[in-house]
Symmetry: C2
Subunit: 475 residues, 2 copies
């Protein structure tokens, strides 16, 4: 394919993309396929000779689309949102064309520098304390990771490295392995599975901290666990707080937890993967109070801030902590300006992802982004009030942002049945969670295209299925 | 921006991309900016109100392009290639529109399934042993990682987990920390820095194995080191072989090393990030002989197989080894078809990257991809013969694929000076490496647009600078 054909095919693809997103409501949100469906639809081997582009495009509808869960359908209420916007898609096209691998400053100065400045822009939008802003002289700063999992892992590894240095400062003979075996990390029992995974990878113990009745970790319980571990000769070194947990969008009490971590010389990382985007609105910013105690902070614009996946933004208070943990400079990466390079992540190479942030921030403006967040929170509140008005149902966690946790009053089994009916009907898509041993349905406002009428329709659908379910149960 | 505006702006962006790539020769390959250049060109904060799209596009030329290292310029000979092709870019547009986060089968069946089948297609193109192919009943199979660094890390973590289980089977009382402290991993002294980094992350010792005069690790030396470590009570558990090292494109002798690893119960991972793509050509496939001994194998189509970054393909002989190492299934990810999900990587979420492979494999066909590899190898050979014809220069490592390592006969200082002149002139771009203590220039065939005339021109430029340099030295 030469440039001329790309011009033609590119235009067609732009139209295909616009058509897909404009008409996404007409597709069933959840696919009607069984595992292994795709293999039988395509050849078992790659072709020897080039194929026709038209055949490939035809196969997108024949092979791919029947197996797609449509995350951008207004009937998609599962997990948490995946961001999508036209400006981000345009920026991604540009990113693909430049196609630089930004593993050092010299490998593409614009890639490294725009990222630093975009993280400063974003940090200011979030009113992060000055210490997290790189500026021209700061010690902190931000970086784009692929996912929150990677940000959590990097923070845990940096904390581990710092803890080893700290212990060895007074006990120079202690081996790294010996120290590792004493290190203890903590996180909420409600934290994302990737946090526990980070500890597994890092080879350190991780304790799950019980939460209060708002599914939040409080200071006193962490303090108690830390004291107990210290008394047993262990070394508490890391706490991962969550703002906006995956099951219920609960908020750990970081104003209580932060001072404890600081006092105990423990690294506090904040995972606000979903909820973090809301902190650009003054009315939600108080949820981030206490961030000044954190060593690192992460949120995913690719969830809720209209920047297409992947773009997970992470700030650290002290760049040296995270760079120092893994820096290696073979000759082929050395450059006189190497200090401007960044090895703050697991992969060495990375795409020019900050272009997406730049396009989105400028095309929406802060006000436009705030309006997006507010609209989706309002839709969640609307759904909440529909649930509350129906005595057969209960709300299972305070609705603070765009997630509503609800269930039928009654057994877990009953709610499992309801979810099965919802999934089977394929009109809307949502997933469950477990809260205090109860099976709960999660209704997350996800797609940019979701409007009030979709919420109303979703609720009507759920109540219709409930009617059938309860009718069956009584029969 | 609504769909109608996206249609218009998308067409413009397609043209911008085509123009950029068609005229890339006219841009200086390496930017003339100093660190910090970008910050002063843009505001210090994000705008409150939406901006005009035309202003953003104007800023691409004003702010971004002056700081871009043009990886797809035919004058770019640094590092290793970053793949780029029009079909891959079209697929990426589609991937962005679908915008699913493929962390489980249910999250988007097509995303999981196309990936599995594409890895089978690709595995067959590489003539991988049957045990690496998932098929419908196999125990092995492939996965797309973001980068080779992640593939290496995943293999090391899986090997670590397996080693712990194996030791604990006969010594149930041994703690994980105790076992970690005895584990030893090995890799070539020529291996990529990410291999050493993986060991640092995993908290295990890593030994650098000296190479022979072809910069390859041989069996006898690994055997000797393993014996010595075992005698000291340590537990050798992992060897990362490299096919196509970063400095010189050297090839470890995996037919010798594989049986040693198998005999010692050590995991053998093969990192063929760059060179691996060449193995689709029958004449280069012998370089992969010995892969049958490996537990895992990785290469980057995003380097040399026309699939835009990021797309790093990894195969394992036994899926259970790598899945078992980290599997966690919170309720919000559970699904009746969860076995078809994949948690074979550090990030939980991932894009629909297999679309790029599908488009590229079909639009080029195996023959078209082979032609691309062969053309670039021929260009390297052409450059090699130019160097060999000039008695002032020497070739520093056998030219097997698309990389030529060369230097001026003389001091390291002289060669450093030459590289400085090359970098300063900005006509071509390349980076150095160190081989047996000698400062060497690496000339890698990178861009898809590179033709014989560019090679000739590059060599003319280098000899012109050499003339000036030696003239200066004599004066």
């Amino acid at each position: 394919m030469d440039a001329a054909e790309f011009r033609r095919r590119g235009r067609e693809m732009v139209d295909y993309v616009a058509d897909y997103l404009e008409n996404i409501e007409q597709r069933p949100v959840y696919p009607d396929v069984e595992p292994g469906y795709l293999r039988s639809l395509i050849p078992t081997e790659a072709p020897m000779e080039p194929e026709n582009y038209d055949d490939i495009i035809r196969d997108v509808e024949r092979v791919i689309m029947p197996g797609v869960t449509h995350w951008h359908s207004p009937y998609f209420y599962a997990y948490y949102p995946a961001a999508s916007s036209y400006p981000a898609m345009l920026a991604d096209m540009l990113c693909g064309a430049i196609g630089c691998i930004g593993f050092s400053w010299a490998a593409s100065p614009a890639c490294t520098e725009l990222e630093t400045v975009m993280l400063d822009w974003f940090g200011k939008m979030l009113q992060l304390p000055e210490c997290f802003i790189a500026g021209t002289h700061g010690h902190g700063g931000g970086v784009i990771q692929g996912t929150a999992s990677e940000a959590t892992l990097m923070s845990l590894l940096a904390a581990r490295c710092k803890a080893v240095r700290w212990v060895q400062a007074s006990n120079p003979k202690k081996s790294e392995a010996e120290i590792f075996s004493k290190l203890v990390a903590y996180t909420s029992e409600q934290a994302h599975s990737s946090v526990e995974r980070a500890a597994l990878i890092g080879g350190v113990m991780m304790r799950k901290v019980p939460t209060d009745n708002c599914f939040a970790v409080r200071g006193d319980i962490l303090k108690e666990m830390v004291e107990k571990d210290k008394a047993a000769g262990l070394i508490p070194f890391y706490f991962c707080a969550t703002l906006g947990t995956t099951p219920s969008c609960g908020f750990d009490s970081i104003t209580e937890l932060g001072p404890i971590c600081n006092g105990e010389n423990m690294w506090m990382h904040i995972d606000a993967a979903y909820a973090g985007s809301a902190f650009i609105c003054p009315e939600f910013r108080p949820l981030l109070n206490g961030v000044e105690f954190a060593d690192s902070f992460n949120l995913n614009p690719h969830k809720w801030l209209l920047v297409n996946f992947d773009c997970s933004t992470m700030w650290v208070k002290n760049r040296a902590d995270i760079i120092g943990a893994f820096k290696m400079e073979p000759l082929y990466l050395k450059h006189e300006n190497q200090e401007s390079g960044r090895h703050w992540q697991i992969p060495l190479g990375r795409r020019f992802r900050s272009l997406k942030m730049w396009f989105v921030f400028r095309m929406y403006g802060l006000k436009g982004l705030q309006a997006h967040i507010r609209k989706q929170v309002a839709l969640a509140k609307e759904f909440e009030s529909l649930v509350r008005a129906d005595k057969r149902f209960e709300i299972c966690a305070e609705v603070i942002l765009g997630l509503v946790c609800f269930r039928l009053k009654g057994s877990n089994e009953l709610n499992q049945k309801l979810l099965k009916m919802i999934t089977k009907s394929r009109e809307i898509h949502l997933v469950p969670c477990q809260l205090s041993g109860r099976f709960v349905l999660r209704f997350a406002i996800c797609a940019r295209a979701t409007e009030s009428r979709h919420i109303q329709q979703a609720w009507q659908h759920i109540t219709q299925l409930t009617f059938e379910l309860l009718d069956d149960a009584e029969a």
